[in-house]
Amino acid sequence: MTLAERCRADFPILERRINGNPLVYLDSAASSQKPRQVIDAVRRYYETTHANVHRSIHTLGEEATALLEASRDKVRAFIGAAEREEIIFTRGTTEAINLVAQAIGRTIKPGDEVVVTEMEHHSNLIPWQMLCRDRGAVLKAVPVIGDGFLDLEAFSRLLSSRTRVVAVAHVSNVLGTINPVGEIVKRSRAAGALVLVDGAQAVPHMPVNVEGLGADFYAFSGHKMLGPTGVGVLYGRRAVLETLEPAWGGGEMIKEVWIDHAQWNDLPWRFEPGTPPIAPIVGLGAAVEYLSGVGMEAVASHEQALCRLTLDLLAKNGDVTIYGPRNPEIKGAVVAFNVRGLHPHDVAHLLDQEGIAVRAGHHCAMPLMRRLGVVGTLRASFSVHTTPAEIEHLARSLSNLNLML
């Protein structure tokens, strides 16, 4: 039995029919579907355990706190962080990046520089734009060249003693390019810059070890890795986190408070003001367990095979243009493409009639769309439950498109 065949029964939503056809969900890069194990963990939490965490001197509060902190330990192990204090729960990747931008922002001076790349999702671009605007800093972008790779020579030229932060996607949400984060970290560190990696498209699809990568910050979302919406993770290297003031204030992030000042709490709670999204965090813990059970090496090779099949089948269609690297071995679990003469939204609408869900549009990466010279693209993305038959169905439907519009 293949990995997908084993996993499919775990996803209740796959029983749905869309416009009379079985659901073919090829939009996991936008948000993944949830296995029963995650749904059950959230339901069980609300039905048996819910209370506020950390300061409740009663059984439910203690149990809820234990569940939340257990999720922290699971996430720590899953991404290979050295210490649990380095795992900060946020509401998602976007909030994690904003947290870093605001915390670091306090130390940024006019003339300092931030380096991003042309392939960033808006969530790893706009927070830095806002930071640079507010602090009089300069934003620079590493160009995308060839089939969708970062121009590393240009990157080296952009780095200087003024560079304070380098913010880069681990895996492009459009091109699928797996960026050489280790090399980027090495060069950035030599220039004295901190590195934030947007891992939203990496953690759900391949083994990730943050210690090995060496980045100072690594952000990702629960909902793209089979977990609930409303929870994300910011990994921060302890030595760096300890130097930063909290981004936001509130309850839970303090030790002692007076009217005119306060003493901050220890890591990681210093960066977690307010009641956290407890149920989503519990669900994220279940998602991590699920993915660990399947094995991230197995997930990566399963999705690489799907990627190869998609690239092969789409290449046979003369009307289809593919964007991003053609070699699935250096690519994440997404394939972006366009169909000649048809707008991506019309194609997505047509595919929906067949029950096929794909993403269409700019994928929150407008500068990259401009670089590719397109308004938008279609994007098929995969998960543990995706089968080769579903990819063949997509390719067949794309061949019949013109008959339908």
């Binding site: 707008h343 019309d346 339908m404």
Partner: protein, 123 residues
């Protein structure tokens, strides 16, 4: 047929696509949903829209909506055109547009009104 024969026909063979020589009202905007860009050019005379053309890289619905709007606008009083709402387009497009695609219908309308507002402000 995915949308309607009106949309399909206007998408394949738009009648008012292109540049308008001597335009005195030009406006362009973007659909935040998809990044689609529509540009509408109008020639005005005596409180009326004498001629209209559109340009843009957009989906079939948006293209058909812009083409239909240009046709509707030609020869009409500015006051009338400013009063048009989404329903004026929807009935003529003869299509059931799902909520996620309504922006594709209304973007050309917003752009045309933007062009007229810009002219009014300039005067």
């Amino acid at each position: 047929m995915l949308y309607s024969s009106v949309i399909s026909e206007r998408f394949r063979h738009p009648r008012f696509f292109g540049d308008l020589v001597g335009a005195d009202a030009v406006f362009e905007d973007v659909n935040p949903l998809c990044g689609d860009r529509v540009r509408i050019q109008l020639r005005l005379a005596d409180g009326s829209i004498a001629d209209a053309r559109f340009k843009g890289d957009s989906c079939a619905i948006c293209m058909a909506s812009a083409d239909l709007l240009a046709e509707m606008a030609r020869g009409r009083a500015i006051r009338d055109a400013l009063a048009w709402g989404p329903d004026d387009l929807l009935t003529r497009l003869q299509a059931n547009i799902r909520p996620s695609r309504m922006n594709c219908v209304t973007l050309p309308l917003q752009v045309m009104k933007g062009a007229l507002a810009a002219v009014r402000a300039a005067r």
